[in-house]
């Protein structure tokens, strides 16, 4: 379970039921449509009139490009990324969880629970690094934190995203697709145009050895799962062993959240097959479920 989880993440993790090593710690799958809870938004001042000048100024200065030359540049970047994150949440890509960093909207922390293929059981960390003039600055980068032996991941951890997105077309491409592409690359290994020649070669020539290397990555990732956070960003995804004292109440909360449905309220007397005002027959007097 996450140690200092944004609410959203705790919730997301609860959806993963197939990951075996901490299976018993995980609540059952909760198939609830995700709702935006705005971890991205924390970058903006929460209260009107109390901006966080330091951050905005800093980013204003650091951002090149036409859009960011105006004082609104940072806002545009952020509000271009919000729909991206919403889409990613909407997709609920199985086994992958992402949270934008608290300190910048341009970096998202991610973790992938591999559910099948050579790396099954692995829990790998990655960062998505988004160009500052998104959506114009090309494809976001994916950098793995976990040590991985994989034809499409360089020994330094850089994922070969160019293999899937040779050119970033902002009208067609979205970050959720990047994440999904990364997920798929663990299921079916693609040795073409590798960034890790050795891994590619081994995959083609010595399949068994490759599988053993992959297993090594998996067990290493499990060993290091509780490692301390290398950054002080509060949105960094960290894990700790399940402790009913700390986590049980949280788990219950997750379940209760699921059952509580939002009241629909409002005034309407329009009949469902009509577009006339006050067309609901009188017998159905008042529609007000509050």
């Amino acid at each position: 379970m996450p140690r200092s989880p944004p609410k959203r993440l705790a919730h997301s993790l609860a959806m993963d039921s197939s990951f075996s090593p901490i299976e018993e710690e995980e609540p059952e799958a909760v198939a609830e449509p995700l709702k935006r809870q705005g971890s991205v938004r924390k970058v903006l001042p929460a209260t009107p009139g109390v901006p966080d000048p330091a951050k905005l100024v800093e980013r204003t200065n650091s951002l090149p490009g036409i859009r960011s030359t105006s004082q609104y540049g940072p806002y545009f970047t952020e509000y271009s990324l919000l729909p991206e994150y919403n889409m990613l949440q909407g997709c609920a890509i199985p086994g992958v969880y992402c949270v934008p960093a608290a300190n910048t909207p341009l970096m998202w922390f991610g973790v992938i629970f591999v559910r099948q293929g050579p790396y099954v059981g692995g829990v790998f960390r990655f960062n998505i690094v988004i160009p500052e003039n998104f959506p114009d600055g090309g494809c976001p980068k994916v950098e793995f934190q976990s040590k991985l032996f994989h034809p499409q991941i360089s020994p330094e951890g850089d994922f070969n995203i160019g293999r899937g997105f040779s050119e970033w077309n902002k009208n067609m491409h979205h970050i959720w697709q990047v994440v999904d592409y990364v997920r798929k690359s663990f299921l079916k290994i693609d040795p073409g145009q590798p960034v890790n020649e050795e891994a590619a070669k081994m995959y083609k020539m010595n399949h068994e050895k490759f599988m053993a290397e992959a297993k090594k990555c998996v067990s290493l990732s499990i060993q290091r799962i509780y490692d301390l956070s290398p950054t002080d960003d509060p949105h960094y995804i960290s894990f700790e062993p399940f402790d009913s004292k700390t986590h049980e109440s949280l788990r219950e909360k997750i379940y209760s959240q699921e059952s509580s449905s939002e009241d629909s309220r409002g005034l309407s007397w329009v009949a469902s097959n009509s577009i006339k005002p006050f067309s609901v027959p009188i017998s159905g007097v008042i529609q007000n479920s509050s």
Binding site: P45, S80, R265, G266, L267, S268, S272, I275, P277, F278
Partner: protein
């Protein structure tokens, strides 16, 4: 019988009763003996009266009352002592049917019957107050029977104030008791009270419109009865079918409405709705609202039968015969008043059923083939006070987030999708993912002209702002920074989204399907178009403003340098009305006149459009905030209007000197206003807030209006349009653009500028430019937040 109130008899009674009270601590047996003794004495006199022929004398009555007082004191002592076994006095009272005997005797005492009636009411009240299990008393025949007889005897009687007070207090007590023990309700439906009659309720009805404590207590009691009716069919059908309370309440509203002032002396140009302070200072209005709120409460708690009848009477007994004619008359001043009243009423009621009756009346009801709403819409044109209060009314109407109203005003027209090019229909639901619309909106910001060498007139007015202060002021925003606009927009969109949760249709171009909507160019539509055009022309020709907004005049006007860039819609109003509806069309047309409108009208107008822009329904959202959708040529989109406004503002400001300074000054003025407003909200009851002076021929008004103040206490919206629409006296007149005063001193950091009348046109445009800029930020924030809050994110095809 009011003479009794101050009669010497009563004074002497009181005196004797209190002096000879028994000792506080006495043993129960002695008390009981004393109790019996007092009753014996009273009974002797009663027997004498009953047996005798000469009737009761004053001395007889005094003596009985005195004894009864003693008995009551003893009873209270006993009941307070609280021992279960030791209720000798109470048991004696019940077993001897003392209450029955008293009732019988009081009917024989002629002139003095009210005195005894009062004593009896006091006894029942005392028993209900002090008995440990009051509800058990109700099951006691010797208690209930005389009580019901006594109450029944009070029907249709007129009483002096002290009896009224006791009676209502007792009725209230009974209602409280029954509310806690509804199972005893049936005891009150007996043959002795008349078939199916609920005597408590009948007695309360005459008091519902009473002012003061008695009326208050009676209304409380009645509400309890209404609440009881929800679970008791007999009571419900009695209230609905046998009692006359529903017509009494509804016609009561009509009566109170007719006592309201018909004209208000509005001294402030920006006044557009009643504030709580206004209401406090109009006692008739306070009284009316109390009554309306009572009706609201009744509908809230009553049985559906009662509810339905109540609503029926409010509609046919109040809205149709009284409010309708008031809204459709010809006296403009009275129209302003009645429109403001209606707006206030809509803010004061909350019960959905009651709201429905009001809204239905506005949207559906006809007067000579003309609907109230059509009339109201037509008054959106023009620059008058009537226009201000009408915009305010629509602001409140739209703020109710009622689908039926929005359907009538907006979606009825947009669901046809005839406003967009056929090829564009699929794009209505598209989200603007990369902030293009916001970017475009912000790009429309007015270009501040380069400062030219100032001529002597500026230096003669007292120097210029230091470069440092002008630097710091240049980026002053009226609403903090852009983040504040975003936060406001986010809250507003979320609230609107939530409030539309129960809507039937999505209005996204697919639900309802475009074909279902069919709006033909009916005669009523054409008439409406015609009338509004006439009205707007009339207001223009009144010479109220020096700048002419109409297109024909505009051709020669210096306001438009590039004539071809300002698209002319005026030739064919009908088509635009049919495509996007008269409401939106008139609003946007009014917006085109922004440069000549007063700043207050602009505040109202932009506030209303922003409120519309908080709706997430794609049909409306795309018309207001989508920059890339291609509309039919006859359709005015918000982007078009804003674009043409920007051009005209830029052109106009470019022709004048010193604009930069004026812009700073206007900005500062508006910031000051906002601060004053914030302070006013923090200290709402400071004397300065009350600037209300009654006059003989109406009611006088000066400018204190808190735009979004609501009696329902809904969350305060602090958008610039609403927040700024408040002008406190402190700042009033400082930068008042239309006030034609020769010179108003305005001091900024020691800088004084003499305002000249000939400058007022320029100043108005400058104020307009500042407002325009801020509003663009507000709209841009709305556009951004709409994208960010977009809930359903269907992933593109995998």
């Amino acid at each position: 019988m009011n003479w009794l109130r101050n009669s010497p008899i009563r004074v002497s009674l009181r005196g004797r009763g209190t002096t000879s009270s028994p000792p506080k601590e006495c043993d129960p047996a002695a008390c009981f003996d004393s109790f019996k003794h007092h009753w014996q004495q009273a009974q002797n006199i009663i027997n004498k009266i009953q047996g005798g022929t000469e009737g009761a004398t004053q001395d007889d009555i005094l003596s009985v009352v005195n004894n009864l007082d003693q008995m009551q004191t003893l009873l209270v002592l006993e009941l307070k002592r609280g021992g279960r076994e030791e209720r000798a006095c109470l048991d004696f009272l019940l077993s001897q049917s003392i209450l029955d005997q008293l009732l019988t005797s009081s009917s024989l005492t002629g002139l003095y019957s009210n005195i005894l009636r009062l004593e009896q009411l006091k006894v029942y009240e005392m028993l209900l107050t002090h008995a440990p299990q009051q509800q058990l008393l109700l099951t006691q025949e010797p208690f209930l029977r005389p009580l019901l007889r006594l109450l029944t005897s009070c029907i249709n009687e007129c009483f002096p104030a002290d009896i009224e007070k006791r009676l209502i207090l007792l009725l209230n007590q009974l209602c409280v008791c029954l509310t806690h023990n509804p199972e005893y309700l049936d005891l009150f439906f007996t043959e002795s009270t008349g078939p199916g009659r609920f005597v408590i309720f009948s007695l309360l009805v005459p008091y519902v419109h009473r002012e003061g404590g008695v009326g208050h207590q009676a209304r409380d009691a009645m509400l309890l009865c209404m609440g009881l009716s929800k679970k008791n069919e007999a009571l419900a059908s009695y209230i609905a079918d046998k009692s006359n309370v529903c017509p009494v309440l509804a016609t009561g509203l009509s009566g109170l409405y007719s006592r309201l002032p018909r004209k208000l002396l509005i001294e402030s140009e920006e006044w557009h709705c009643f504030t709580p302070d206004d209401v406090i200072e109009l006692p008739e209005l306070t009284h009316f609202l109390a009554s309306l709120e009572f009706c609201n409460a009744v509908v809230q708690v009553a049985h559906p039968l009662v509810q339905a009848q109540m609503l029926e009477f409010v509609h046919h007994g109040f809205l149709v015969p009284v409010v309708g004619p008031a809204l459709l008359q010809n006296m403009v001043e009275e129209l302003v008043t009645s429109t403001a009243y209606l707006e206030l009423f809509l803010r004061s009621i909350s019960e959905p059923g009651l709201l429905k009756v009001f809204l239905r009346f506005i949207v559906v009801d006809h007067y000579d083939g003309e609907r109230v709403i059509d009339k109201l819409i037509s008054r959106l044109a023009g620059k008058t006070q009537l226009c201000m209060v009408t915009i305010s009314l629509f602001n409140t109407l739209i703020g109710l987030h009622c689908e039926d109203v929005m359907l009538e005003l907006v979606f009825k027209y947009l669901t046809c999708c005839s406003h967009v090019m056929l090829s564009q229909r699929k794009r209505i639901k598209d989200m603007d993912v990369y902030c293009r619309s916001a970017e475009r909106l912000l790009a429309l910001s007015v270009a501040v002209p380069r400062r030219r060498k100032t001529n002597s007139s500026s230096s003669s007015s007292g120097g210029s702002l230091s470069s440092q202060s002008s630097q710091s002021l240049r980026h002053v925003s009226l609403h903090g920074d852009f983040g504040a606009y975003l936060a406001t927009a986010r809250a507003s969109i979320a609230a609107t989204w939530l409030a539309c949760g129960a809507w039937t249709h999505a209005y996204d171009g697919e639900s309802p399907p475009p074909r279902a909507a069919l709006v033909l160019p009916t005669d009523s539509n054409r008439n409406l178009a015609q009338k509004a055009t006439e009205e707007s022309l009339a207001s223009v020709s009144s010479g109220y403003h020096s700048l002419q907004p109409d297109s024909e005049v505009r051709e020669d006007s210096p306001l438009v340098t590039n004539r071809s860039s300002a698209p002319s819609f005026h030739s064919t109003p009908d088509i635009a009305w049919i495509v996007s509806g008269p409401f939106l069309d008139l609003l946007l047309r009014q917006l085109e006149n922004m440069m000549t409108n007063s700043v207050y009208l602009n505040l109202q107008l932009t506030g209303l459009i922003s409120r519309l822009a908080a709706f997430s329904q794609p049909l409306l959202l795309s018309l207001l905030l989508n920059h890339s959708l291609v509309f039919q040529p006859s359709v005015r989109s918000l982007f078009q209007v804003l674009g043409s406004l920007k051009q005209r503002l830029d052109a106009y400001l470019n022709m004048h000197d010193n604009v930069e300074e004026l812009l700073l000054e206007a900005r500062l003025f508006l910031v000051c206003r906002e601060e004053t407003l914030a302070n006013a909200k923090r200290h709402p009851h400071e004397p300065a807030a009350s600037t209300y002076a009654p006059s003989t021929n109406g009611t006088s008004r000066r400018g204190t209006s808190i735009a979004d103040s609501s009696f329902k206490g809904e969350a305060k919206r602090l958008s610039i349009s609403s927040a700024l629409s408040v002008l406190k006296r402190a700042t009033q007149g400082a930068f008042s653009p239309v006030r034609e005063q020769p010179a108003i001193e305005y001091s900024v950091n020691g800088f004084r500028l003499a305002k000249r009348a000939e400058n007022s046109e320029l100043k108005n445009v400058v104020l307009c430019a500042v407002l325009f800029d801020e509003w663009l930020k507000e709209l841009a924030a709305l556009a951004l937040e709409h994208v960010a809050s977009h809930q359903a994110v269907p992933p593109p095809e995998k």
